[in-house]
Structures are given as structure tokens and as C-alpha cells.
């Protein structure tokens, strides 16, 4: 688990999640207002967003960046990795255009196209006759394997994109790793996610074959602040503020130039790590030991040098690790020194629950998700610091991959990935 584990953006600090009643209804409100302001127009001011009184449940599909990155986390998510089976470049382009058009329609919501008596219904009926947007985002990212010789894209590969390596504590299952294309689908409700997944795959059946899939969810604040992961700890407290456009430009959005091709501008290196948590084992560990592993209070999320969740860890006054251990997760991940400042990245992880393993132990954990301007400078550097941290005994990274979240779809005639083919 790189970085302090996951979460939502700092909207929580403004209390938009606070006082959430019936989380499913509460999350969307603040989330969406912010989403409109930030997902599409990162430079707009947060106060303008906060002043918007009418909640909406639709995130703009078009913009400089894709939605689903700075967008506040929805309650339900699906991560689906595909291998491209299109026969050639032209077919891949067609499929990406189809993907774009279906995603555009679904994220906006409305009445589905009507095939009359000439075909089965376009929609699947799961969301009723009229499709609600329901906070849907569809974020498309590409894997390094897409840039092999098949589609003439070798020269377009984002410079730092590669197959995810196995870190020393990993137990990666090849069947659950990598892929040519990743769709990260999020919405306020699971049925919306699954309906979108079915419609997106149906329209691209011959071009994209599912490689692996992991569904996730985000929890409501318990009782307040950043949502918790399944180890019981608030996850994502130290995330950089997504409403700070300058900060996002420095930490999240990839820039063209140097060894990067021009088309990558506005995209982001998208790291996904499916991390199983051995929750039975974890529950048999004392609270003191748990808190020492993270460096935070389980109840409040406060660093062990502080009082409240959003207090900054104070390493200067704790140089020998009496409060926050030297090998605590938060201390290794983010030492809060000037030279590690640009190693921070945006985390947007979902919890997952996938039944049980063959021994009857629960298979649940985290779909660790990180958006980085520069894969090496940020995620990889941080992850290397975390090798052999005490927490590794209780978690096991089993899948995922490195992807590159495509730049946004800029206009009605633009489509996902068009820049790659330029």
C-alpha cells in the first residue's frame, strides 16, 4: 500500500460529507457540486463550487481532464481491465469512439437510443426506462502493452508507462494484472456501475476482451472525516487538495515535453493495486500494534503526534520515533520533507469484498488507486520506501497494473485516446 492509504479528496475537511445521513444520499451532494467545479475546470475556485446550491448528479464528460480522477469518490466502482482484440488500428479507433459515445451518453443520462423493431433494446433496463446519470464517471486508461507493434502506437507510448513490476512484498497473480485498457467506472449506486459496464462492453464486444475485473465500494465517513478502509483506519487523510489547481498541475497531470509525447498532456499515470487484507489476522492484532504500524489513531485518524485527524504529523519533535515509529506507514510514505514533497500523489482507492478464499478466510481489501504526474518520481519512489514495512504481514498485493489515464475528451467530436493516433 503506497502512500497513506486512500482517499477521497479533501472535500471532507469542508464538512461536505459531515453529518451524512444515509450515506448514499449524502455523498453525492457535496461530491457533485465539487465535481462540477473541479473535474471539468480545475482552475475554478472552490468557493464558487461551494456556493453552488443546487446539487446535481451528473459530472461533465468533456473537459481538459477525464472525470473520475479529481472527482470525489462515488460509493460504487468497477475496475475492468481489457485486452484489445481489435484486428488493426482502424478497428481500435472505432472501438474507442464507440466507447466515448456510450460513456458520454451514460454520464449525461437520459433516454437511451431507440432501435425500434430492428434490434434488441439498446439499454438493459437495469436503471429503468430513462437512464439516470447517478454520478457516473467512466475513466479510460491505457496499459503499456497497447503500445506494442499491433496498432502502430509504439512511438506514442507515454515515456514512463510500463508493465507493473512485482515489488518485494507482492504476490501478483498474472491473471489479475496488467491489460491494454482499463476502465474505472464509478457511480453513486452499484446498479449504475453494472449497467454502464454491460452497455460499454456490449458496444465494444469484438474489440475489447475482459482480462480481469475487481469491483469496489467506498464507505461513508465513520463517524466523520475520511472514510475508512477495511482495516478500520481512515484512509486518504493526507491526500493533496484536489481543489488546488496549481498543486494538481504539479502532482497529478502529466505534461508533454522532454521524453513525453505531446498527446499525454492532461493525462495522468494511473496505478491500480489490488491489495488483499488478511482481516482475520489483523483483527487478532492489538490496537496498539495496529496504530503503531500506521502511525495514526484508529478512532480519530489523528497522527500519533497530534490530536485531530487533519493535524500534521510532527516528525521534528519526534525524531526518534517515540510517537510515530520510524517504520510507521505514514512516516515512510510521506516523510514531509522538502525533497519528498513532489513525491506525493493523489490516492483514490476503493475497498473491495470478494467472497472467501478456499480456506474460508474472507477475501477483502483495497483497490489501491493512485494518480501521478510522473510514475517513477511519485508512486514507484514511495513504494520502494515501503518495502518490508511492518504492515506487509497483513496485506498482500495480488493484482493491478500501471496505466495511463487518457487526457480528457475536449469537445463533442473528440474521443478518448484520439491524441495517441496523431
Amino acid at each position: 500500500m503506497a502512500g497513506e492509504c486512500p482517499v477521497t479528496g479533501r472535500f471532507t475537511r469542508r464538512g461536505l460529507f459531515g453529518g451524512a445521513v444515509g450515506a448514499a444520499a449524502a455523498a453525492p451532494v457535496g461530491a457533485l457540486v465539487a465535481g462540477r467545479a473541479f473535474a471539468d475546470a480545475p482552475s475554478s475556485s472552490p468557493s464558487a463550487a461551494a456556493g453552488e446550491s443546487k446539487p446535481t448528479d451528473s459530472y461533465p464528460f468533456e473537459g481538459v481532464h477525464q472525470a473520475g480522477i479529481l472527482t470525489p469518490m462515488q460509493r460504487a466502482a468497477a475496475y475492468v481491465s481489457f485486452d484489445v482484440t481489435a484486428a488493426n488500428r482502424r478497428e481500435l479507433q472505432d472501438a474507442l469512439q464507440e466507447l466515448t459515445s456510450v460513456a458520454r451518453l451514460l454520464t449525461r443520462g437520459g433516454t437511451p437510443p431507440d432501435e425500434g423493431l430492428t434490434g434488441t433494446t439498446w439499454s438493459n433496463g437495469v436503471l429503468g426506462p430513462k437512464i439516470p446519470a447517478d454520478g457516473l464517471t467512466v475513466t479510460a486508461s491505457v496499459g503499456a502493452s497497447l503500445f506494442d507493434g499491433r496498432f502502430g502506437l509504439a512511438k506514442a507510448k507515454p515515456a514512463r508507462l510500463r508493465a507493473m513490476e512485482a515489488f518485494p512484498n507482492d504476490d501478483l497473480d498474472p491473471a489479475r494484472c496488467h491489460g491494454d485498457l482499463l476502465l474505472q467506472i464509478g457511480a453513486h449506486n452499484t446498479d449504475t456501475v453494472l449497467s454502464a459496464l454491460r452497455l460499454l462492453t456490449r458496444r465494444t464486444r469484438g474489440a475489447f476482451a475482459v482480462r480481469w475485473r475487481q469491483d469496489g465500494f467506498s464507505s461513508p465517513p465513520r463517524p466523520s472525516g475520511t472514510p475508512r478502509n477495511l482495516l478500520g483506519f481512515k484512509d486518504g487523510t493526507a491526500n493533496p487538495a484536489v481543489d488546488d489547481a496549481a498543486l494538481m498541475d504539479r502532482l497529478v497531470w502529466t505534461r508533454a515535453g522532454g521524453d513525453e509525447p505531446a498527446w499525454v498532456a492532461g493525462g495522468s499515470y494511473h496505478v491500480v493495486r489490488v491489495i488483499r487484507m488478511f482481516v482475520e489476522f489483523w483483527d487478532r492484532v492489538s490496537l496498539l500494534e495496529q496504530e503503531n504500524m500506521f502511525g495514526r489513531s484508529r478512532d480519530t485518524g489523528a497522527p500519533l503526534t497530534g490530536t485531530d485527524e487533519f493535524d500534521e504529523p510532527d516528525y521534528a519533535l519526534d525524531p526518534t520515533g517515540d510517537a510515530i515509529k520510524m517504520d510507521a506507514h505514514i512516516r515512510l510514505a510521506n516523510p514531509r520533507t522538502p525533497d519528498t514533497d513532489d513525491q506525493r500523489f493523489l490516492r483514490r482507492s476503493f475497498n473491495y469484498d470478494a467472497g472467501t478464499d478456499m480456506n474460508g478466510n474472507l477475501d477483502m481489501g483495497l483497490i489501491f488507486t493512485a494518480f501521478n504526474q510522473d510514475l517513477e518520481r511519485q508512486f514507484v519512489t514511495v513504494q520502494k520506501r515501503l518495502v518490508d514495512e511492518p504492515l506487509v504481514d497483513y496485506i498482500s498485493p495480488v493484482g493491478g497494473g500501471y496505466f495511463f489515464a487518457l487526457p480528457g475528451v475536449r469537445s463533442a467530436d473528440d474521443w478518448l485516446g484520439r491524441g495517441m493516433f496523431a
Binding site: 485486452d83 482484440t85 432501435e115 425500434g116 423493431l117 430492428t118 434490434g119 434488441t120 464486444r205 469484438g206
Partner: protein, 429 residues
């Protein structure tokens, strides 16, 4: 009727019988073979049921009109339909998306089209609106002239007055199509059945060959003859519905447990399990002889098959649905590892089922170019695993190869599903 079939003749007895059958569209039973038959007995029962219902409703009278229209909670322009009235409440307007709230004020279930009176193309088909019910239905129409066409379950259709839509809405509109009727489909079904019948003598010879090989103790030859016979049978997939118990005797799915020892398993997959499982000839002889008898029985039953015309439109699609579900997963394999060969045969079978439908669809502007392209692509891909008669077992393929097969067959079946919808028999005018 644009079908220029040269031998099939439509006799009225056929039409009556099949119209009764078509009223109750063949259920797509769970994905298991054989499918439930629409037998003569079933059709008889349906006919009786229909009469009974009609008798109850003799002396058609409109329901008392307590309110001008049905449920006010149903969104849409209120439009009254039924046995006497068809389209009251709407007389035209602006082109673009329309939502009608059809209220059936009669005592019979009613089906309502929105059609172009000149071309008879149908844009909307609201089926099975029960007596007294209000049903919303949406359609997006371009500028033009349209009308409602009401078809009560047990009385003559009623055409509503024409109405016009004006405007310059440039958005996408719902495509229209002249409905395919039972009358259109009967020649196609007969042509198809004739083709199946023509294949059966060859199939019988091939299964006899397997039995003869086993009798001689030549199990190596028996294997290759088994494959020939089985693949031939798999091209007849479109006939599953008609095969009934014969289908079970000939080609039941192998069970999850050891199919060679399954006392309830018969036919091709039983023999396959024995032939590839190293069983002695003596143990294979019985099942091989039984298969010959089962095929003979099928030939007898196919002399006068009773099938709903719905079958012919669904076949091409369902054959490939079966292939995706049972063959592509290797579930249908009892040891020979020839699932990909089976899929190749299924693709042939799908084309055979499409053949008699082509003139019907061509007359409606659908040339099936996409379908043909994907079937051809599927065949090329599947046949790339045929190494001079030795087929690569699907389960031995690597991930990329499996993905390509899955995607290609799945795209093909998506397109075939449209054929099934377009050729779903609808009421004639």
C-alpha cells in the same frame, strides 16, 4: 411476399396452425439441449385455450368510459386504443421524441403499431396491452405521416386515422421496418426443414460408420468417423427445438462427473467419452448402435415436424449462443478436444439457418453484411486451429488466443441477435 422459394408452398392449414403457435412465442428455455418442443399437442392446447378465452369475451363491448382516458399516472399523450377505437386523443404534432400513453378501453388485449400508412413500416410496437390497462411507449419520429394500427387479440385490426408530424428535428429517429409475419416465415421454415431432412440420410450413414468401426475393433478410425458424424450433426443446430427426445438421445451435454460412466448419458458425447477414455470396443458398441437408432428415429420424426415459425428467426442466433456458452468454455467436451471444430460446424449451421431468411430481410433493406463479415471472421479464426483434422483443444489455448475467440464469437452473436428480433413474427395487417 418476396420470398421466391421454388418449392415451398403455403397452405392455409399451415398458416392457421402456425399462427396459433406463433401467438405463444416459443419460449427460450434455459440453455440446455434439447429445447422444449412446441409439439402438435401443445399447439392443440393453445388453440383450445384461445377459444376458451375468446368465448368468455364474446359480445365485444367497450369498457364503461368513466374517465376520458386511462391512468393519469402514466406519462405520455393519452391515446385510446381497442377494438372500436384506435388512436383517439392524438392527431399529430411536432416531430421528435413522442411518448404515448395507450389506454385499452376494450375487453380484449390489444397490440398497437405506430406505422407509416404508405410503406407499412412500423416504428413502435406496443404489445399485449391488457384490457383496461394504460401503457406508456416511446418512439422518436421524423417529419411525416403516420397512424396507429390496433390489433385486438381476437378480432379484426382497426386502422386509426393518419396524422402528421412536422418540424425540422435533425436528431436520430427510431428506425422503421415492415414487420415480418408468420406468412413470410412459413416458406423459410419449410425450406429450412427440408434442408435438415436432406442432411439426415448422410448423418445416418456416418453414425453407422462409427458403429461399424467399433464392431471391427478399429477404434482409431472410429474416432475420426465420430468427429465427421458429430460435426455434421452440429451443423443441424437450428433444429434443436424439433429434435426433442431425439436430441437428448443423440447429443445430450456431457455431465460434470465422469461422462463415460454416466448411465443417463447417451449419444455422441457418451461415445466420445468412451472412445477417448480408452474403453474397449465391447463397451462402446452399445452406445454406438443406440446412436444409429436415435438418428433413424429422428429421421422418422422429421418427416412431419411441428415447429413454430419463431424458431427460424431465433436459430441462427441461438446456435452461436450455445457455442459461446458450451463450446467456447470447453464444457461440451467429453475428451476429444474438438470444441473448436464444433464451433466451426455451428457457424455453418448458423449460416444455413440464415439462408432462407435472407430474401425476407433483403426486402426490408437488411443485407446482413455485418453479420456475414463477423461469421466469416469467426470461421477464419476457428479454422486456424484445424491442423489437418487435428484440432487444438480450446482449453489448451493461451489467454490472448482465448480472448480473441471470445471477443470474435461474442461480437458475432450480438449481431445475430438483431436478426432474431427483426424476424420475430408479428401480426399481419
Amino acid at each position: 411476399m418476396t420470398n421466391t422459394d421454388d418449392t415451398a408452398s403455403v397452405d392455409e392449414a399451415d398458416v392457421d396452425e402456425l399462427v396459433e403457435g406463433a401467438g405463444e412465442r416459443a419460449k427460450r428455455t434455459a440453455w440446455r439441449r434439447p429445447r422444449v418442443l412446441l409439439t402438435a399437442g401443445v399447439i392443440g392446447a393453445l388453440a383450445v385455450g384461445g377459444v376458451a378465452v375468446a368465448a368468455t369475451h364474446r359480445g365485444d363491448q367497450a369498457l364503461p368510459v368513466a374517465a376520458p382516458h386511462g391512468s393519469a399516472t402514466v406519462p405520455g399523450t393519452p391515446v385510446t386504443v381497442g377494438t372500436d377505437v384506435c388512436g383517439q386523443g392524438w392527431s399529430g404534432g411536432t416531430s421528435g421524441p413522442q411518448t404515448f400513453a395507450f389506454w385499452n378501453n376494450s375487453i380484449q388485449p390489444v397490440e398497437v403499431y405506430v406505422e407509416d400508412p404508405a410503406t407499412r413500416k412500423v416504428y413502435l410496437d406496443a404489445e399485449n396491452i391488457g384490457s383496461g390497462a394504460t401503457r406508456a411507449a416511446s418512439v422518436t419520429l421524423g417529419p411525416g405521416t403516420y397512424r396507429f394500427f390496433c390489433m385486438p387479440a381476437d378480432s379484426d385490426p382497426v386502422a386509426g386515422a393518419s396524422w402528421r408530424l412536422t418540424g425540422d428535428d435533425a436528431g436520430p429517429t427510431t428506425p422503421g421496418i415492415r414487420p415480418v409475419t408468420v406468412r413470410d416465415l412459413i416458406p423459410a421454415l419449410k425450406e429450412y426443414e427440408r434442408w435438415v431432412r436432406g442432411e439426415l440420410p448422410g448423418l445416418q450413414r456416418q453414425t453407422q460408420q462409427v458403429a461399424d468401426d467399433v464392431r471391427r475393433g478399429d477404434l482409431v478410425t472410429a474416432r475420426s468417423d465420430w468427429l465427421t458424424a458429430h460435426l455434421h450433426y452440429e451443423t443441424l443446430g437450428a433444429a434443436y427445438d424439433a429434435f426433442g427426445d431425439d436430441g437428448d438421445a443423440i447429443d445430450a451435454l456431457p455431465s460434470a462427473t465422469d461422462p463415460a460412466k454416466d448411465p443417463d448419458l447417451h449419444g455422441f458425447h457418451k461415445i466420445e467419452a468412451l472412445l477417448w477414455g480408452g474403453a474397449p470396443a465391447a463397451r462402446i458398441q452399445g452406445p454406438a448402435d443406440d446412436l444409429v437408432k436415435a438418428v433413424a428415429h429422428l429421421r422418422k420424426d422429421m418427416v412431419n415436424p411441428v415447429q413454430s415459425t419463431t424458431v427460424i428467426g431465433l436459430r441462427a442466433h441461438e446456435i452461436i449462443e450455445d457455442a459461446v456458452r458450451f463450446e467456447l468454455t470447453g464444457e461440451d467436451d467429453a475428451g476429444s478436444g474438438t470444441d473448436l471444430a464444433t464451433i466451426d460446424a455451428n457457424l455453418t449451421g448458423s449460416l444455413e439457418a440464415l439462408r432462407p431468411l435472407r430474401p425476407i430481410l433483403a426486402a426490408r433493406g437488411h443485407d446482413l453484411a455485418d453479420v456475414d463479415a463477423w461469421i466469416a471472421r469467426s470461421r477464419r479464426l476457428v479454422r486456424s486451429y484445424d491442423h489437418h483434422g487435428r484440432w487444438t483443444p480450446v482449453t489448451s489455448l493461451g489467454r490472448r488466443a482465448r480472448e480473441r475467440l471470445d471477443a470474435t464469437l461474442s461480437q458475432t452473436v450480438e449481431l445475430l441477435s438483431e436478426v432474431a428480433v427483426m424476424t420475430d413474427p408479428r401480426r399481419s395487417n
